[in-house]
């Protein structure tokens, strides 16, 4: 452990350096930029795997350093190597590597290829830093950097106004959550005196810290950050709009990693979370899961469906964390990363093949034209739905349902989870049927071609992981749970057929089967007219369908209230700045100008004028006196004579 911890800093630093160099490269150096990014992330993967290997038997190692002093206290940052961080590091670097390779093909025709890889590397560096951070402050810094990278990548095609607006929306909405996170962090620092997680007994998670009555509030404030970043209601509105970014971005950031950072945050500070806070987490997660699943049923953009699916699955993760603990939530996070990234990349392949078409109603019959894509997409879809036994989603979702079933507070999340599972299976079936089955709806769909191997090979690797990862956490062999929480993982098949375990499994399986059947029946047949006009659900319940398609009008509600309020306040601030402060500055300027004018006037009239008058007087008097000297000698003589008389008189009278 000790030897690896010395190299832990390499994990985030290598991609950061790659991003730094790539930022300076000119647009033409595509190969160098991509090579640097992929090389760096490969190095991170290697070191992460070494770290993972070192933590296989549990344990924790930290390396802390003092950042700066102020007064008598100092602020410390640090890196931690423990199972939670190691598994996340491996997952993030592996998925990032596969998506980087995929982007080589997907973004090949884009002219800003170099900039794209620079931003991707920056994102990877920030995410990896977040994962191994041992200080809530370092965590927050990487959290913000991740938000920045997300903004840069969502708005990658910034010439599109919708993309620029989406980037702004993402940043601002997550900022609201980050504000709560920041306040909670400050409060924690005030109460605990340190933000370092594990510090040889003195860290805020080490157990020696007593937070008292403020613990729940602090936990909920930190949860605010997770709500924003992980797209729980009410701050979920940015995630669907974030689909404006390129598909690899959606896969990496908004499916596998960044949105999982919120879940990871709660997992990291789990020792701080009070039972009351965990209740709130569970409820929020449950509501989000169902809410987003409902909306996804009525969406027509291939990426939007997956985006709402992500929101829903994040709700599941929160539910798992709240009801079942760190292992349950993290297991679903890991499996979700694999199959959601797979689904997004598959969607990207479909979009690429259909020549940048994104509306599912314009696709159809792609099964025959893009067979590899269809196969991997089907694997991903079944993993997401939770088709039993061979697909990872089944095992992870089952763990969550099991945990909520045993939750002491209420059974409502369990039923909401079951409803969510039904809806998930339904909308995924709808999507797969409309996209891959039936007849092509447009010429573009008809001419669809398979993607190059640089794109399909990562898809195959992810599909393999989507199947295999599930076996790490089955009840028969709970390796994942024991890895994270300690304990020995024994292989015991009998655990599979334990009574309540089996009941939950059968219940979820039957719901999933029913949903797939319903979806297939409604959408599996080739339509008589294009789907645009003849969606069965829309025909059956047009009002409900419209409500769902418009996302329950949440965006419109926010626009009418908060956005309008903020805009009004901004206008007021502008007026204040311009009229009041600006007016004050202008008044000062005016006073200065008046003083200056007065000063100039004084200078010109009084000083200059005084001088002028003085010199004029002297000159004038001199001129007048000089007129006496007219050159006439006799005048001079006369003057002398008169002066002589005067002198004489003065002397005479003076002497008397």
């Amino acid at each position: 452990m000790a030897s690896i911890i010395a190299y832990l800093w390499l994990i985030p630093t290598a991609p950061l350096l790659a991003a730094g160099v790539a930022a300076l490269l000119p647009r033409g150096r595509r190969g160098l930029s991509a090579g640097l990014a992929i090389g760096a992330i490969s190095l991170s993967l290697v070191v992460s795997c070494a770290a993972f290997w070192a933590t296989l038997h549990g344990g924790r190692a930290t390396i802390n350093f003092r950042w700066f002093d102020y007064g008598s206290t100092s602020v410390a940052l640090g890196l931690v190597l423990d199972p939670l961080g190691a598994i996340m590091a491996v997952m993030v670097s592996l998925v990032s590597l596969l998506i980087f390779i995929y982007s080589l093909g997907y973004m090949a025709k884009d002219e800003n290829f170099t900039r794209f890889f620079c931003f991707l590397a920056l994102f990877a560096a920030a995410m990896l830093g977040l994962v191994i951070a041992n200080s809530l402050l370092l965590f927050f810094m990487c959290w913000e950097l991740v938000g920045l990278a997300s903004y840069l990548l969502i708005g990658f095609w910034f010439q599109k106004p919708s993309a620029a607006a989406a980037a702004k929306k993402a940043f601002i909405v997550t900022r609201i959550g980050d504000l709560g996170f920041f306040v909670g962090m400050l409060w924690l620092y005030a109460k605990a005196g340190t933000l370092v997680f594990y510090d040889g007994g003195h860290g805020c998670l080490d157990g020696g810290v007593v937070l008292g009555a403020a613990a729940t509030t602090i936990s909920l404030l930190i949860f605010c950050g997770a709500v924003g970043k992980s797209g729980q209601i009410p701050l979920h509105v940015w995630l669907p709009d974030a689909m404006e970014g390129p598909t690899p971005v959606s896969a990496l950031i908004h499916a596998a990693t960044m949105v999982a950072a919120g879940v990871f945050l709660i997992a990291r500070v789990y020792p701080l979370m009070t039972p009351e806070a965990l209740q709130v987490v569970t409820w929020v997660g449950a509501l989000t899961a169902v809410f987003a699943a409902c909306i996804a049923v009525a969406q027509n953009d291939i990426k939007r469906i997956l985006a709402y699916s992500t929101v829903s699955q994040l709700g599941y993760m929160m539910m798992g964390l709240g009801a079942g603990g760190v292992a349950v939530g993290m297991f679903h996070l890991t499996t979700h990363a694999c199959f959601k990234a797979l689904l997004f990349l598959g969607a990207g392949s479909v979009i690429h093949g259909c020549h940048e078409e994104q509306d599912i109603r314009n696709m159809g019959g792609l099964r025959k034209r893009m067979p590899v894509t269809f196969a991997v997409y089907a694997v991903g879809m079944m993993a997401l739905c939770g088709v039993p036994l061979f697909f990872s989603g089944f095992w992870s979702k089952d763990a969550i349902l099991d945990a909520t079933h045993h939750w002491s507070v209420s059974q409502a999340p369990f039923y909401l989870g079951l409803l969510g599972a039904f809806l998930t299976a339904f909308y995924m079936t709808r999507q797969v049927c409309v996209v891959f089955f039936g007849k092509p709806a447009t010429g573009a769909a008809e001419r669809a071609h398979e993607s190059p191997s640089v794109m399909t090979v990562p898809l195959l690797i992810l599909a393999f992981l989507a199947v295999v990862a599930g076996f790490l956490g089955t009840p028969a062999w709970p390796w994942f749970k024991c890895y994270l929480e300690g304990g020995q993982a024994g292989f015991d098949l009998s655990k599979l057929v334990e009574e309540h375990q089996l009941r939950v499994m059968l219940l979820s399986t039957s719901l999933v089967a029913a949903a797939i059947f319903l979806g297939g029946w409604l959408y599996g047949r080739a339509p008589a007219r294009p789907w645009r006009e003849s969606d069965p659900l829309e025909a059956a319940q047009p009002a409900v369908f419209a409500l769902l398609r418009h996302k329950f009008y949440v965006d419109e509600f926010y626009d009418a209230t908060i956005v309008r309020l903020t805009a009004a306040f901004a206008k007021f601030s502008d007026w204040l700045d311009r009229a009041v402060w600006g007016g004050a500055v202008k008044a000062v300027c005016w006073v200065a100008l008046v003083l200056a004018r007065f000063s100039r006037g004084t200078d010109e009239t009084v000083v200059n004028g005084g001088f002028d008058i003085g010199t004029e007087t002297v000159r004038g008097s001199g001129e007048w006196v000089s007129r006496w000297q007219n050159g006439q000698v006799q005048r001079y003589l006369r003057v002398i004579a008169l002066a002589f008389c005067g002198l004489l008189l003065v002397l005479l009278w003076g002497s008397q």
């Binding site: 006439q632 006799q634 003589l637 006369r638 004579a641 008169l642 002589f644 008389c645 004489l648 008189l649 005479l652």
Partner: protein, 173 residues
């Protein structure tokens, strides 16, 4: 011993000559009247028992200075004043006033001063011998200075009045 009877005619002649010298239009007449005034003064000196001074006055003033003035009048053609041209410079009353004031002051002082009412000494003797002795003893410095002055004046007058070689610049007015 100056006698009133002898004084008055000489005084009248002197004064009349002086007035005429200053008032006549013809400059030569002026010069000649001035010579007369100088002569009258010489007579007054003689009355005052300063014989040497009187004869020196006659020699120098009447004999040299008056003649000099006549020569200058001739050389500067000032004698012929055109009829109608003014003999006096503009505003002559100012000069007359000034002179009148001076005279008034002087006479006022003279008349009001009691120390001037004195009688002369019985005899006064100014023999040439004494003058010569005094010139050589007490007044030797002034004598030499006068000699120098006269030399300088002589040379200076020659230089000033020398006809300059013709130059290209026009005469200034």
């Amino acid at each position: 011993m100056p006698n009133e009877l002898a004084f008055l005619p000489c005084a009248v002649v002197t004064l009349a000559g002086a007035v005429a010298a200053m008032m006549l239009r013809n400059l030569v007449h002026c010069a000649l009247c001035a010579a007369g005034a100088f002569a009258g003064l010489a007579a007054l000196y003689l009355q005052l028992d300063a014989q040497f001074a009187g004869f020196a006055q006659l020699l120098v003033y009447v004999g040299a200075v008056a003649i000099l003035i006549v020569f200058t009048i001739i050389l500067t053609r000032g004698a012929d004043l055109r009829p109608g041209a003014a003999a006096t410079s503009p505003a002559p009353w100012v000069g007359l006033l000034a002179a009148g004031l001076v005279v008034a002051c002087l006479i006022g002082c003279l008349v009001s001063s009691p120390s001037l009412n004195r009688l002369p000494a019985a005899t006064a003797d100014a023999p040439v011998k004494s003058i010569g002795e005094q010139l050589m003893n007490q007044y030797v410095m002034p004598l030499e200075a006068i000699g120098l002055l006269l030399t300088a004046a002589l040379l200076g007058a020659v230089v000033i009045a020398l006809r300059e070689p013709p130059k290209s610049e026009p005469p200034t007015r």
